[in-house]
């Protein structure tokens, strides 16, 4: 039985093992096992799990890899994430992956799917084009067909035909995963000092490259630990960090925010793991239908989904109020159209609701945090002063 610091250290290692050794080891243990890499943000990982596969989140190379070839594939005005991903595809990091999925979030990720086809990585490389129509008979049918295509791709590789029982089992495991994660966030809401933002980050990110069963065990252990009081409350303000759902901020940036006097009580770093709100029914004859409906009806707001009728600014403000946040930090990757084009409206809604906010832009390999620390510190001080 590992201690909590040991678990958290292990998570930190897993989060930034850009060779995905643990996932590859898992695959090597049985010929039927397959690895499916996916980019941010959301993938219904249940379908990969049910097919005997492991869906591995590829969140970029961050500041952990020297980009040698990747820069020759991207102009300077394109965000950093895809150049790290192509670097990994060109060296051995993504060897042994059977397929790749590129969820629809922007044209960089979309075109990256074609680059993987050209450089011939994986037995399949597909853009996963989520419906923007939310009627079950229209978008729902389309989404189901998309999922079926992936199930067929996987079946061609390992011969596994997914049954409703298998899918129900996978759904219940991911339901547990989502529940445990939300419990951790709800403890952090009231007692943020019990688990730092960086540890929380590692804990969630580690789950993208190991089997969900193992991740659930880790989350359970940490959750049990968090139930008891630990750590010392500081005179920090409570913030939500929004806008870093795809290219990830460097750990130094997350640390800087906390060290400058802000508790991060919520964030969208690992949005994909928290995408579906609530459980998906795992006791039906048609579990695929449940996965589809969960997406159509219970998706968290995001820059990837057109939000007519349910504006994301309003939804962010609701979360901020419910979680009793003192302020919001908009923290988006440079050149990230989806996040940056949402920002003015989100800020306007915050202003109207009287929620203070600041914003940063970053690259995943930013190395200097002095300015960010100062800005976040001033933000925290001003809130403390005027509260």
């Amino acid at each position: 039985m590992k201690t909590i610091p040991e678990i958290l250290n292990h998570c930190a290692e897993l989060s930034f093992d850009l060779n995905f050794s643990k996932a590859k080891l898992w695959k090597s243990e049985s010929p039927e096992r397959i690895l499916v890499g996916y980019l941010p943000i959301y993938l219904p990982r249940e379908i990969v799990h049910a097919a005997g596969g492991l869906a591995v989140g590829i969140m970029g190379a961050g500041d952990r890899k020297q980009i040698i070839k990747g820069d020759a594939y991207y102009q300077s005005y394109i965000c950093h994430l895809p150049r790290g991903v192509i670097e990994m595809a060109l060296d051995a990091s993504l060897d042994h992956f059977d397929g790749f999925l590129f969820p629809s979030i922007c044209d960089c990720v979309r075109n990256l799917s074609g680059m993987f086809k050209i450089i011939n990585r994986g037995k399949f490389a597909r853009y996963f084009d989520y419906p923007q129509n939310f009627s079950p008979q229209v978008g729902g049918v389309f989404y189901r067909q998309l999922i079926q295509t992936i199930l067929d791709d996987m079946e061609k590789i390992n011969g596994v035909k997914v049954t409703p029982e298998m899918l129900n089992n996978s759904i219940s495991l991911f339901n547990l995963n989502r529940r445990l994660i939300e419990k951790i966030y709800s403890i952090k809401q009231n007692y943020p000092w019990r688990l730092s933002a960086v540890d929380t980050y590692h804990l969630l990110r580690a789950g993208l490259s190991i089997p969900v069963e193992e991740h659930n065990d880790m989350l359970t252990a940490v959750l049990n630990f968090l139930k008891d009081d630990s750590g010392q409350p500081q005179d920090n303000i409570r913030v939500i960090v929004s806008g870093s759902f795809c290219e990830q901020p460097p750990i130094g940036l997350i640390k800087s925010i906390e060290m400058s006097g802000c508790y991060i009580i919520d964030d969208d770093f690992m949005l994909g793991s928290r995408w579906i709100m609530g459980d998906i029914n795992s006791e039906t004859d048609d579990p695929l239908n449940e996965i589809v409906h969960a997406f159509l009806e219970r998706s968290q707001f995001s820059s990837a989904i057109y939000d007519v009728g349910n504006p994301k600014g309003k939804r962010l403000v609701e979360i901020a109020k419910r979680k009793n946040a003192d302020g919001i930090i908009f923290c988006a990757a440079s050149f990230c159209d989806p996040a940056l084009l949402d920002r003015p409206e989100m800020q306007k809604v915050c202003d109207e609701a009287g929620i203070p906010h600041i914003n940063f832009q970053f690259h995943e390999n930013t190395g200097q945090f002095k300015v960010i620390k100062e800005q976040a510190g001033t933000f925290a001080d001003s809130i403390k002063l005027w509260a």
């Binding site: 044209d107 979309r110 129509n133 229209v138 389309f142 067909q145 057109y306 003015p344």
Partner: protein
């Protein structure tokens, strides 16, 4: 020469008149009671909009016009003042800035606010963000979404067509009926497609005339004018058919006389290089940009930008027998909705079929849809076609990203490279 000049002017005059009439109608929309639909160029539903007697407005066209009229820099700054980042697509910022400054269109007349935002986001994710922003700026405006699936597997599938047709039936058409107060007229839409098909046939012939040596047209700089009526408010109309007929006759005449393309600097007397260009042009310095090519005798014989509103040379035509299905296929077939391997194949085909001497990319800072992956495209074309490749960078409407000296230097070195290759190839043939 005189005859040729007169003929040329006729198609230009026609287009000018068409545009003037369109913007006049728009400025009078409130008085005439006509409803206004804002929508995007790639994969547009012009025939459907016109079949409801509504008037389309294309924000990208307004942005590019603002760029050409040197107004975009100020508009972009105004959008940045309200919180838009320097990093994002400048078309969006230019449009928002124009709106903040009274929404004055290219003819100096005020554009009406939209009655419907028709978000047919073909080939570009940023469109979605653009209209989310516009929706906030026009509170309460009706929005219709048409999700166009990407050709991720290099083809259009039956499932995708089915999805799009259902969206047209259940989302787009009911919204149009609501906004216009008219019932959907299937046969009117179908009839318009007969005209669409005629214009499309003609446009293909016009663009393919560049296969002649010398090419009678420039398929990029002049090409952007040729695609104007087809990619915007006129496809499906008699006017468009007339325009394309006229233009086609003029070009036939040029071929007969062995003439090269007409440019703002005059006619290109000697076609030194034939190029295929990938990526949109720059609008803020359009004429200067074109002149660099003119000075070098470089003629663009094929371009991907003239395919953003349909790759008709691959065979697609609107079909009056299945109007909704053909709208679906049309939307999905546009250039930026093709996956990267398809784009590479198309561009290689152009290099070969148009007997190009080189392949050039104008990479646009604003546009991830075009730009992400272009460096790989360039390498692939170089390998497949064995022609010299060139790469320059600029922006659509943000003059801060158009460095004349830099672009000129790069192009001149590129043209030198082409020149040397020609000499070597010439020597090899002689030997």
């Amino acid at each position: 020469m005189k005859i040729e000049k007169a003929i040329k002017e006729k198609s230009m005059i026609l287009q000018k008149e068409m545009l003037a009439k369109q913007f006049k109608e728009l400025s009078l929309a409130r008085e005439s009671g006509k409803k206004v639909v804002y929508t995007f160029v790639p994969g547009n539903l012009t025939e459907l909009i016109l079949s409801f007697d509504m008037l389309p407005v294309y924000p990208e066209i307004n942005a590019l016009q603002s760029g050409m009229r040197k107004k975009s820099a100020a508009y972009i700054k105004d959008a940045e003042k309200i919180g838009h980042s320097e990093d994002v697509c400048t078309y969006v910022k230019c449009d928002i800035g124009m709106m903040l400054n009274g929404n004055i269109g290219p003819t100096g007349e005020k554009l009406p606010a939209p009655d419907l935002l028709l978000l047919s986001y073909t080939g570009c994710f940023t469109f979605l963000k653009w209209f989310e922003n516009l929706e906030r700026l026009y509170p309460g405006v009706e929005v219709a979404m048409l999700h166009t699936p990407y050709q991720e597997d290099g083809k259009i599938t039956a499932d995708q067509i089915d999805y799009m047709v259902k969206q047209l039936r259940e989302e787009v058409i009911p919204k149009m009926e609501k906004v216009s107060g008219k019932k959907f007229d299937y046969s009117r839409l179908s009839q318009m497609m007969i005209n669409s098909e005629k214009s499309e046939d003609l446009l293909v012939k016009i663009l393919e005339s560049a296969k002649h040596k010398p090419s009678p047209i420039d398929a990029y700089f002049a090409g952007v004018y040729y695609i104007g009526p087809m990619f915007t408010a006129f496809r499906g109309t008699e006017e468009a058919v007339n325009y394309y007929n006229e233009l086609y006759l003029e070009i036939q005449e040029r071929i007969k006389l062995g003439l090269g393309p007409v440019t703002p600097e005059g006619e290109i007397k000697e076609e030194k290089f034939r190029l295929v260009v990938e990526g949109p042009p720059n609008w803020t310095n359009f004429r200067e940009f074109w002149k660099i090519f003119y000075d070098a005798g470089a003629v663009i014989v094929a371009s991907s930008y003239t395919k953003v509103g349909g790759v008709f040379d691959l065979g697609f035509r609107h079909n009056f027998r299945e109007p909704l299905e053909s709208l679906a296929k049309y939307c999905m077939g546009c250039y930026t909705n093709m996956n990267l391997p398809q784009r590479v194949d198309l561009l290689s085909k152009y290099v070969k079929e148009y007997q190009a001497d080189g392949f050039l990319i104008n990479s646009i800072k604003s546009c991830n849809s075009f730009s992400a992956g272009q460096l790989l495209i360039m390498r692939e074309i170089e390998q497949k076609c064995g022609v010299p490749v060139g790469f320059i960078e600029s922006d659509l409407v943000d003059p801060r990203y158009f460095s004349y000296a830099n672009i000129k230097n790069r192009l001149e070195s590129y043209f030198q490279m082409l020149e040397q290759r020609k000499i070597i190839l010439g020597q090899e043939t002689e030997a």
